[in-house]
Symmetry: D2
């Protein structure tokens, strides 16, 4: 099985990049299934029907989210109507909407960290519970949407040998630490993001971000324009081989 996973898609610009490159890369890389983190796909923050439809249309088989999932009220409609859009397992009551198994046999799970983030339920115990409810004989990938490198690596080791891959999202910066953990789980701390590159700080135009850091008063954040960066990983799992490769380019 070959899985193509795209990091947090930011805004219209990120969605356009997905529309332009997803199928192309999928075909070139012979990926069987494509997973996209979409928590920033609507206006740079959150999700809505439109952003979800566009990502699915572009070829995403499963869409994961994270802390920004609930930004727009419309998240409820997505929640009710799109079973392949996942919400983190450790929000109270959401476990059943945090995993999805594709027809190609990949179970994707979505969990969220809580170091330097909102204090939700324990992600490690949520992982245990998830593994009890998902189908046994599928390939298993976890999108661990988290801030702290320590919590992410801890989740990698915690699930090592119990799932095929743990990939991190949320920081919007790709890390260079992809590896095969000792018991066979593929791991990367952060896949990075797909969205604005020029004058961009995690997808937002730099000026407002810097202004906020200088003045501590609200600044009007806007999704940056200009060229896009595309960050993804290709995961390969078969009898002979387990491998995770980073992809990263600026259009």
């Amino acid at each position: 099985m070959r899985i193509l996973f795209f990091g947090d898609v930011v805004g219209k610009s990120g969605r356009q990049a997905i529309q332009k490159y997803l199928k192309k890369l999928r075909d070139e890389l012979s990926a069987d299934v494509v997973v996209v983190n979409g928590e920033n796909s609507a206006g740079g923050l959150g999700i809505n029907r439109k952003s979800i439809e566009e990502l699915l249309d572009a070829g995403a088989n499963v869409i994961t989210t994270g802390n920004h999932a609930f930004h727009w009220k419309e998240w409820k409609e997505v929640f009710d109507n799109y079973p392949m859009v996942l919400f983190p397992a450790n929000y109270p009551g959401l476990l059943e909407r945090s995993h999805y198994t594709t027809s190609s046999g990949l179970t994707v799970m979505n969990i969220q960290g809580r170091v330097f983030m909102e204090c939700i339920d324990n992600p490690f115990l949520a992982a245990d519970r998830l593994l009890e409810v998902v189908p046994k004989d599928t390939f298993k990938l976890v999108d661990f949407h988290a801030e702290a490198t320590s919590e992410k690596l801890a989740m990698g080791y915690y699930l090592d040998g119990r799932v095929h891959a743990v990939v991190g999202t949320h920081t919007h910066i790709q890390t260079a630490d992809e590896r095969l953990l000792p018991n066979g789980t593929l791991y990367i701390t952060d896949v990075g993001m797909t969205g604005p590159y020029d004058d961009s700080i995690l997808g937002m135009h730099k000026d407002a971000v810097i202004s906020k850091f200088l003045n501590n008063r609200p600044a009007r954040y806007e999704v940056a324009s200009g060229r896009c960066t595309v960050n993804a990983v290709l995961i390969e799992i078969n009898k002979e081989n387990r491998d995770i490769k980073r992809l990263s380019f600026i259009e």
Copy 2:
């Protein structure tokens, strides 16, 4: 000028890796000057005379630190006796001990972030003040020791065109986003760490870290053993070229 910069050195194991590889890499890569982040060099947390002496002996020309610098009381002796050991500029009263200019003409500056970290003075204003007091006609490199990717990229853009390089430290995971910013500053979000690799979460043995995440009660953290990872960047600045290259290997 060619600068070799090593990310956070963790514990005895990290110091040994520095002793083993620093001069070798410096010579192979024709580096003019070597900078090492040493905030975790003594017992995995903080600095002391011994850890500093070993890093200097191994060939470090400048040693930067960060939030853990003050962990051992002995930091005061280091502070008083080693001018090439830097402390973050935005701790109250430490600006004068946050920069150092080598005989080879490199001015190293050390600043610390405050998103998800202790709330110290504004790092952006500290950067402005630093640039007023350091020598004008030198090469300039900033070690921005910070957690949040947004704050780090913001510092990169804020100093773009005003210093030659901004390199991030603190997360202990190397990022894959090295780049030349539009106005000529070389940038990477995090250089990563130099220290234990096997069964290691940021240098500490995984078991205690996972136990803490599961139980929320104090666990006895220990520096991991086994193989070391070495994370560094090589920065080249000359008339024709400005370049930053990642180095990363497991011994």
Copy 3:
């Protein structure tokens, strides 16, 4: 001099209580000057022209604010047009708008804490700077808008003997620790709030607040209705006596 100080006024309901009781209490208690914290006066969060006009009309001589001051864009108009509306001294660049001296001879200063709050400039150093710029021969009161009891008591001791009173705001709950510090400064950790009492959590209706704590997903906060609580302190400073008395009632 007798100073009447009202804690955070919350929403329309709080403004109505101020309109109903301020002048009455001022006259009954022979207060020379009235200070009101208005950071929640517009819609329960932030300030605007209307909320400020109403508080002034009701008899407030000086209005202090805090972390919510900048919630509505209209704060800029208030900032530009109402010199007796203060903003915390330790936001970058706002020192000159953080103090006001009444014709009756009271200098009010506004500072904000940073423990468990946004990381702005050091409030203790801001206090030092404020004391350099305000008129010398006036009575001096500081509204220290802060969360943590440790930071508030620390500010009390830090300014003990340098100002006449340090009163805390922000937690919306009145504390029972009013006292005369050893060097003559009157102190209370928190004055409390003026606003909705029934089914109210800090002014907001309890249901949404509890829902947020249970589900960790956004809930629509609404200012509670029903009876109001009025929390204030009366400070008396004269040659024979220095005294701080709590006032608290439900209408």
Copy 4:
């Protein structure tokens, strides 16, 4: 039933105050049972055999704790040997050690907040679970050890009508908001502390605390000396009446 509850006892000085006043107040006020929060009873931080023995000897029937309970390794011995010493219910696995029913028929429960504190399990859901396991026909009191006023009031309303009293601890400052909630639960946001008063910030000598706020570098905290303050509440529950009264004096 009349319950006497003492807020966080700090260090030797606090223990001595308990030894001096507990039985005296119990007898004067005809209290049937005495509860003491002891999380700071050993050296100002944490608990040990000695501090627990002294509090029991002084007449405490139940001892509650909080976030500092685990500071000394010796907490495990207390955990294993003193069933009337409680640990917060929402640490993973500790629910069974978070409640105790006295021979006089009072069930005390201990829960911890997580706003501005370590992110443990959900305190509201823990409260629900506790109420399922504790004896039905007893008087019920909850010590909610928490920082944020919003979380504490939310717990009060959440348990209103389901327990007899919810008393807050942890901030070390007594609040003046004791009240009877609409469905019959007695409530106070914080009982305050029992320990050093003079030159004291939450029990610690002011100089180190202020130094830390000024310099952001480690300072050596020491329990303050001088006079003690005693903070408590007396709760009365009987057929005709439900009442909560604050007690506070400096020796």
